[in-house]
Amino acid sequence: MHDVDRLLRDELHRRSDLPAPSAAAVVTAVHGLRRRRRITAVAALSAVAVLATLAGTISALRPTAGSVPPAFPPSSPAGEVSLTESPEVWFADADHGFALARACPADPCQLYLAQTEDGGASWQRHAVPGETMPAEQRGPQLNLRVLSATTVALDSYDGTRRRFTTDGGRTWTSPSMEPQGTVAEIPEGGLAEVRSNTGKPIDIVVLRPDGSSALLATPPPTKPLTSMWTKVVRGDDGSAWVHGGDDTKTWLWVSRDRGRTWRDVPLPGDAARAGAGQRPYVDHGRILFIVESSPKRRVWRTTDDGAHWADLGKDLPPDPSGDAGLGAVVCFDGTLLVYEPLSGAVYRAMPSEATLGRVGDAPLWDRFGARYLRGAGRKTFEPPFEHSLDGLTWTELRL
């Protein structure tokens, strides 16, 4: 008869006395495994999404589709108002913000404009007259254009109609979207959009504070131009930015006198090539970034309208295939945050710092006017949504 207890104890201690593996190797392996599993999960989710979309399309096309469960999420219960999918949210300042919402007690759903005056703590909802949408439609096909704390225009994608309010959505008018005459500058409280004209230079269409439109007398003085942004982006300092190009070159224009004059901003690296996909980040107005992910990862910063550029991205991990891309957001103080999707890491460069440094792996957020917005769901940018003024404390966006 064996003394099993003693034999077992000896055997387990012998096993456990094996030398531990190299900690550095384990750390590397763990980070690599996490990266691979994240990529696999994203690929699987994408495949499921594609299959679901296909299934939905096929079901809708079948003559007997009526007996098949809908491919889209069910409508909200009667009376419940929820954010539209792909949230249309914008904060005019720290306290005043707007969001598009819908209620689906029946099909079609009614569109609402939700307004907050206390930094998102509470929201008032106002129906937008005449604006309905089929329950299965994900978005309202309207652009939310916030001109001030109380003034909003909702412009249809097809350019045929505008809903306009100057009292936060309590009353509405329907001015024409067609430009009437010209203006010398983008007025205080106004917005501007780029209108591309085939074979001709672009126009700048100004949305005036009274809801009417006009052409800007002095658009950027350039050759035939294709706009890469539909909006004339407004920097935090009031500057106006237009990004576009033609078959030979990509331009970035800035105006610091409300559109009376424009200056060509020299672009670094590959960003000036024709068809360059790198998006300039001009939110701050004085500190400008360009994030290149292919053919090489580089993150450029200029503080003198492009006269000098510095590469902040020397410490970013390489991505030889150039497929992974990089996410970025410019904070209100000019700090740049860059999200590296392969590792899930976030890198940061404050205005005083010369390179990006890794600061953790928190999910990145986006700027929606004067506040940050992030999706707190399981996937990136998925409900519930939260907003923040500082990126540290977050409040759920609950209508």
């Binding site: 099993v4 034999l7 387990l12 094996l18 384990v26 763990v30 890794r358």
Partner: protein
């Protein structure tokens, strides 16, 4: 400043975690796999784990759960071959090594029984402590240990008889 707290934790906790992993798996490669799978899960919850201040305990429980998980059991891994299949031939040097018998018998135990034996015999944990770690009742732990030891005893005794007869062929 970059956050290296997880990497620092790996450096500090690796000896303790590898001790468990090797005892549970009985193989170096499988043990290192178990360590990696465990740390991947810990890394995913690192901010919460780090904040709660019990990272090693969390990692140890995660390792046990990973080891016992159905997913891991289903993964194909090299298994110990039963003694009678790969016996090399008549042993000219006498009886079978008891230690080899025990290793094979231990590897043949169900995972829950093996986990209970490792926790009890390696770290001398009480039934209540083991029950808390494995999320089982103390009575279940006692039953698992009893059945595990009985199986080991039975296997060793059988092998002693069969090994002897084989050696006499």
């Amino acid at each position: 400043m970059p956050d290296h707290s997880f990497d620092d934790f790996v450096h500090a906790a690796l000896p303790a975690l590898s001790r468990y992993a090797y005892a549970l798996t009985g193989e170096r490669v499988a043990g290192e796999d178990l360590i990696q799978d465990t740390l991947v899960k810990v890394a995913g919850a690192w901010r919460r784990v780090h904040r709660d201040g019990s990272a090693l305990a969390y990692a140890r429980t995660t390792m046990l759960n990973t080891y016992l998980s159905a997913w891991r059991i289903r993964r194909r891994r090299p298994a110990s071959v039963p003694l009678e299949v790969d016996w090399p031939g008549p042993d000219a040097y006498g009886p079978v090594d008891v230690r080899d018998q025990l290793r094979r018998a231990l590897d043949a135990l169900p995972r829950a029984q093996r986990a209970v034996l490792v926790l009890g015999f390696l770290d001398d944990l009480s039934d209540e402590e083991i029950a808390a770690m494995l999320d089982r009742r103390p009575a279940t732990v006692r039953s698992l240990r009893h059945r595990g030891l009985a199986a080991l005893r039975r296997q060793l005794d059988n092998d002693q008889v069969e090994g002897g007869s084989y050696a006499r062929r």
